[in-house]
Amino acid sequence: MYITVSVVILVAIAIGLVRAFRGPTLYDRVMAVNMIGTLTVLMVAVLGFMTGRPEFLDIALVYVLISFVSTIAVLRVVNTSNDTTEDSKQ
């Protein structure tokens, strides 16, 4: 059963990857990273239960905090560099 949930999460991650590749704007990619971050947190938590090792939850906690800070950091940098809709020109 945990397997089913992890496989669904993997599918969702794959869909998120498609959005990250396609763009079209940089913000879409940051959004995809953010979503994949959430999905990874859940994946790690589910895997921890699947293998019966609850200390995995520490990793999930770290992910929540770290991925938040890096999303914020990305946005601050992106808005100081002016070329934000990079790929629409290609």
Partner: protein, 105 residues
Amino acid sequence: MMALALDLLSWIFLLAGAAFLLIGAIGVLRFPDFYTRLHAVSVCDTMGAGLVLIGLMLQGGLSLVTVKLLLIFYFMMFTCPTAVHALAQAALQGKLKPVVEDRES
């Protein structure tokens, strides 16, 4: 008997959560512009994550594991909207024009 019911309930939560995660991901793929996609991310962050975590809490029972899951849940309810808001704000300042329609469904 009680344990079985609890188990069943937790599986329902887990599967429903997984379904919402998938729906959110599909929304991120389908929606037409960046701002509308943010709503799909919200679906993932709130309902998907919430239900999966509640399902796991039911499995964990009354233990420190459940407390940690609660902490993850609590953190997510603060960080996820902040990140989504920061994304929208950054895109707005970056002069990304939202698609606005007046067509009522």
